[in-house]
Amino acid sequence: MNNQTNQIIVICNSDIILKGLADILTGCLSDKVILLNQANELIDYPHLSGYILLMMPVNLFKENEAFLKKIFANTNEVKHLHLSYEEKPQYNNTAINIHDNQALIVNKVNELLNSFGVKNEDKTINELTRREIDVLQLVAKGLANKEIADKLSISIHTVISHRKNISEKTGIKSASGLTMYAVLKKIIDIDEISTSDLI
């Protein structure tokens, strides 16, 4: 899993199910859980980003498909886990049933959360590329995006996109945090920078 935040959104008109799930989901690896009775309450969450695991009954999802698409426009990825109420369910890893036990629910949820941002079996997903290391070195030396672009003869747009990827992979967002990361990972030498200014 990479370092973008992930959130679970549960939409269900039964408060009993919502509260029960909220309790179970405290055992999951999500950064935040949002509980709602109706899909349209999502209008109060205009800045959703990162990875979203959406849990709701499948019919409710179909009714609100267009609206949900709009709401999640700025997120990285949305995955669904349907809530089903059938009496004798068949095992299905894209749905949880109201009769599933706690461990099974937690497993299904965590499995989906862990799969966020992993495109394939590539284990090196969180390793920085050569170019990202070049950019990181210059960030750590205190250069602004524009200066980095000039130095590496790439567009400022590309620099910004590299920086976004670096932050996603390392989990470090601020420039001073990245400097510290670069030193700890020996990407730059501590004596190369004036740490009193940069960190």
Binding site: G177, M180, V183, L184, S196
Partner: protein
């Protein structure tokens, strides 16, 4: 995810969520309150009970935010709370973090260059953070209080408009995200990347402190960005309308 209400006993609330301890202190409550309910306690201490409820619920439950209700509070009550929060950061949280970081460095075995980065990073954060609070206290809050005062006493309007000709709250809006972002980075660096040549228990104390502080900072920023600033924008509109 429960919400507390006025009839809840405060002792039960604290047992449920002890991270509220500094919050209730800031709201004017000290421990030793026996079995009093929140309402009884607020009446006794002369605290606005609705404000008390909103603040502890916002703090306890991250997805809870009744912005409409919160916009009903006067700016002076909100600013008073924010000032107390600043004081708590300055008088307690920052010195405590410094103490823990000193201990953290003390136990490092031989080559401490890397651990000392933590100190440098922290000092830089602290400097920015203190500046940020000072700017709010010396520029933004006085402006807001005077704006509020002017709305209640229209006679003062001329003087107010003259003093704050080109000043609006907009300029103060950005910065917040920055602060909790840096706290998050510091935590993540210690958790993921810093070689563990320090006393583990002290490392854990430091991290717990940072986790709690980050949560507090986030809520603090939420109250400023979601309540205070929208409120001030409302007031600015009223002043402009009368012109």
């Amino acid at each position: 995810m429960e919400l507390f209400n006025e009839t809840s006993k405060l002792a039960a609330v604290i047992h449920k969520d002890h991270t509220l301890l500094p919050v209730i202190n800031r709201l004017g409550v000290k421990l030793g309150f026996g079995d009093l309910s929140i309402r009884e306690l607020c009446v006794k201490e002369g605290i606005d009970v609705t404000f008390f409820m909103e603040i502890i619920n916002v703090f306890h439950n991250e997805s809870y935010f009744s912005e409409k209700k919160l916009l009903d509070f006067s700016v002076s009550i909100v600013i008073d709370y924010l000032l107390k929060t600043h004081k708590y950061y300055l008088d307690y949280v920052l010195p405590e973090q410094e103490r823990l970081i000193d201990l953290f460095l003390l136990n490092c075995a031989n080559d401490c260059k890397e651990n000392e980065l933590v100190l440098k990073f922290y000092n830089k954060f602290r400097e920015e953070f203190v500046n940020h609070m000072q700017l709010e206290e010396t520029k933004a809050f006085p402006y807001i209080l005077q704006l509020n005062d002017t709305i209640q006493n229209p006679l003062k309007k001329g003087a107010f408009l003259e003093q704050y000709q080109n000043f609006t709250i907009k300029g103060f809006e950005k910065e917040h995200g920055n602060m909790d972002e840096k706290m998050f980075d510091l935590k993540n660096i210690i958790i993921k990347y810093l070689p563990p040549n320090y006393n583990l228990n002290i490392g854990n104390s430091l991290l717990s402190n940072l986790f709690m502080f980050e949560k507090d900072l986030k809520n603090h920023a939420r109250i400023e960005d979601k309540i205070l600033i929208p409120k001030v924008k409302q007031l600015e509109k009223i002043i402009k309308k009368d012109e």
